[in-house]
């Protein structure tokens, strides 16, 4: 009962401008990795979108979402997009999740003239090719390392070591981190790229320990993050700060492992204690509904779908939708959203990323100052 009231209340908050009779039916496509290697993160997006659709429909919108699975395969993502725009005749598409799939679909969006709103793929080039129909809500890969380094810059660290998964996100993020580190005058003392899913990273971590870095910059997915931090504790790797770029360092599961995860700093697109409108309530409702904390992917997908529905309902066709998205601005659980052209990007939301630190099992936003309540604890200690 409380849940219902809560959801109606929040939904009402978002849907003020629309009266019931204005609701025309809209059909929106959603491409996601429901199966395959990325399915685990994909599920967060599925949940976020499901909540957005329920909320919007509860407030007088009339939305049908056609869900497509790409299995993380770009060929399937393309087939899914072409099915959505030519057979299902959707007005706009949200997705896909992975950078590879988003790259392929984005390159076809101008051909079919159906707007694509990318909710969470990080690869910079998706919105750097000047595509008119491609919009992105989340901040691209280079921002992850940028905010993390800015957050610790005041403490004047001197050396940095990189430990990261041999994936697109891992490599892209570290590439930009290296540029940011050079600009900050940080010296690179170790660079270890690893293949995912190994049971033993001890040798790698021992090598990093021998290099004695001030900062250890990590990019890992889900459970690998826990494995790495466990083994780092075993080996006795104790830098001044562990910096985790998104993904595996921002999950509820990671937070639960207090023994190993305390004081780890991570970059995130979203946190539930940020002072953006509705963020905290979204966190609570999501947890009540799905039995687990939302990841930032869920929040990104929720907000992307909400923006898509709102804009689509105001637009008669895909061309109008494109101008509605381009002209509009929103302020919801992801903070202020505006699709702008700046420093080489087209239709990119200049999303302020957040830095959070695990303090006693809770993610506390610690940077930038205007969005946070707590201070960063530095140096790291066990």
């Amino acid at each position: 009962m409380r849940k219902t009231i809560l959801s109606i209340a929040t939904a009402a908050l978002f849907a003020l401008p629309l009266s019931a009779d204005a609701a025309k039916p809209v059909k929106i496509g959603f491409i996601n990795s429901i199966t395959g290697k990325e399915a685990q993160i994909g599920e967060n997006l599925t949940n976020g979108v499901a909540m957005a659709v329920e909320d919007m429909n509860a407030t007088g919108y009339n939305v049908t979402v056609v869900k497509e699975d790409d299995g993380g395969d770009p060929k399937n993502a393309l087939a899914a997009y072409e099915k959505l725009v030519t057979r299902d005749n959707v007005i706009g598409v949200v997705g896909p999740y992975t950078s590879g799939c988003s790259n392929v679909v984005a390159s076809r969006a101008d051909q079919y003239n159906v707007p694509l709103l990318v909710p969470a793929a990080a690869k910079e080039e998706i919105t750097m090719k000047g595509y008119k129909n491609v919009f992105r809500l989340n901040a691209p890969a280079n921002i992850y390392s940028l905010v993390l380094m800015k957050a610790v810059a005041a403490f004047k660290p001197k050396t940095i070591a990189y430990v990261y998964a041999a994936t697109d996100f891992g490599v892209s993020t570290v590439k930009t981190a290296q540029e940011n580190a050079i600009a900050m005058g940080l010296k690179e003392v170790a660079n270890e790229k690893y293949q995912q899913g190994q049971p033993d990273y001890r040798a790698t971590l021992a090598k990093v320990k021998a290099a004695n870095p001030d900062l250890v910059f990590l990019v890992s997915y889900d459970a690998d993050a826990i494995l790495l931090m466990r083994q780092a504790k075993e080996i006795g790797l104790t830098p001044k700060a562990f910096l985790g770029a998104g993904a595996g360092y921002t999950t509820a599961q990671f937070a639960q492992q207090k023994e190993i995860s305390n004081l780890v700093v991570s970059a995130s697109q979203w946190t539930d204690d940020v002072n953006w409108p509705g963020a905290a309530v979204f966190g609570k409702r999501y947890k009540a509904r799905f039995g687990k904390e939302p990841s930032y992917h869920a929040a990104c997908a929720y907000e992307a779908m909400r923006i898509m529905i709102e804009s689509a309902s105001k637009s008669d066709n895909s061309a109008k939708l494109r101008s509605t998205l381009k002209a509009g601005s929103w302020n919801g659980i992801m903070g202020p959203v505006k699709f702008a052209d700046y420093s080489g990007f087209t239709n990119q939301n200049n999303h302020p990323m957040l830095v959070q630190q695990l303090q006693n099992g809770v993610y506390e936003t610690v940077y930038p100052a205007q969005f946070s309540k707590k201070q960063l604890i530095y140096p790291f200690r066990r």
């Binding site: 199966t35 399915a39 770009p74 072409e82 030519t86 392929v104 390159s107 891992g170 790229k193």
Partner: protein
């Protein structure tokens, strides 16, 4: 004999005019391209796997060689895709030659495992090197090819069709040639073949080279078609297994078996992916979208399509070990 040539000609003409009948339907033509692609890959594999009986589990390496060489040539040297394709064939043949010299000394399980190991080494090397784009892959925004509209599907449809026709023609030729007899002798009994004076290593390598070259051609067309490749998309073990499954389910060692396998499996995979069964049932009101069955069709089945694939594989191996064509051959 005449009958077969006639059937092939009719099928070819049908395939050529098909896009004209379908009209402006990129989604459907996209699926047809996938069918042709898998048919060609599977037929090319069939030359070494089916005729020579050498079950390579590493054909993704040759597909990847074509795709990567073409994309690197295009993005770095901005060459014509055909030159990239030719270079891809050369690289694939080189890998085949090295692979052959290692794995053809081995038999049975060892051969299958060694072919996986070689393909995995190729995948990891591409993933770790810089000029291959590593984990980031290679993205190409547009391609020029003799003024054709490369955003349209037709060039790729006909490209894939041409490579399928070529592969089938080569297969048919080999089937009737001396090489074909030798390969089949090797398949049936290597030792007996050797004692008859057949140069095992020469003929096995020849079959692998032809197969690798054709596989890499498909890789090149795929890369230019999708315009984005990474190791997961073109070098994964999954790709190699899919190629073999298609051939096995259709019928190994037959001319049309792999084509039949692709015609059945690719649309099936797409139907499962896009949840065709569910949407048809909802559309005609057979099942309500909110009923438990409907919810399973909508949400559960989306997770289950690889499961269905696994079940089909098991059933096929148990009940149709010679594939569908093999089954009907036996019936005759």
């Amino acid at each position: 004999m005449m009958k077969q040539t006639l059937i092939s000609a009719v099928l070819l003409i049908m395939a050529v005019v098909l896009p004209l009948l379908v009209g402006e339907n990129p989604y459907l033509i996209g699926i047809l391209i996938s069918v042709l692609m898998m048919a060609t890959l599977s037929s090319a594999w069939n030359i070494v796997g089916g005729y020579a009986g050498q079950y390579s589990f590493g054909h993704a390496a040759y597909f990847g060689a074509g795709a990567y060489t073409t994309m690197i040539m295009l993005s770095v040297f901005n060459t014509n895709p055909l030159i990239g394709m030719a270079a891809g064939v050369a690289v694939a043949c080189l890998i085949a030659l090295i692979t052959g010299s290692i794995v053809f000394r081995l038999r049975g399980h060892y051969f299958a495992l060694a072919s996986i190991a070689v393909a995995e080494i190729v995948r990891l090397t591409v993933l770790n090197l810089g000029f291959t784009g590593g984990a980031q892959g290679i993205l190409l925004t547009d391609v020029a090819f003799f003024g054709l509209d490369m955003n349209s599907k037709n060039p790729f449809y006909y490209g894939m069709l041409l490579s399928l026709a070529l592969t089938l023609a080569i297969t048919a030729y080999i089937h009737k040639s001396k090489t074909g007899y030798y390969l089949q002798a090797i398949r049936e009994d290597q030792d007996a073949a050797a004692s008859l004076g057949i140069n095992l290593s020469f003929y096995k390598n020849k079959a692998l080279m032809i197969s690798a070259a054709l596989t890499s051609v498909v890789g090149s067309i795929y890369a230019v078609y999708i315009r984005f490749i990474d190791t997961t998309a073109v070098l994964d073990l999954r790709m190699s297994i899919e190629i073999i499954l298609t051939a096995i389910i259709g019928g190994v060692g037959t001319l049309w078996g792999p084509v039949l396998g692709a015609v059945l499996l690719v649309p099936l995979a797409e139907a499962l992916r896009s949840n065709l069964l569910g949407s048809v049932m909802f559309k005609y009101g057979i099942v309500s979208e909110t009923s438990p069955v409907g919810i399973f069709l909508k949400d559960g089945l989306a997770h289950a399509h690889v499961l269905v694939y696994g079940i089909i594989t098991v059933l096929c191996i148990l009940y149709l070990p010679k594939g569908i064509l093999g089954f009907f051959r036996r019936g005759k």
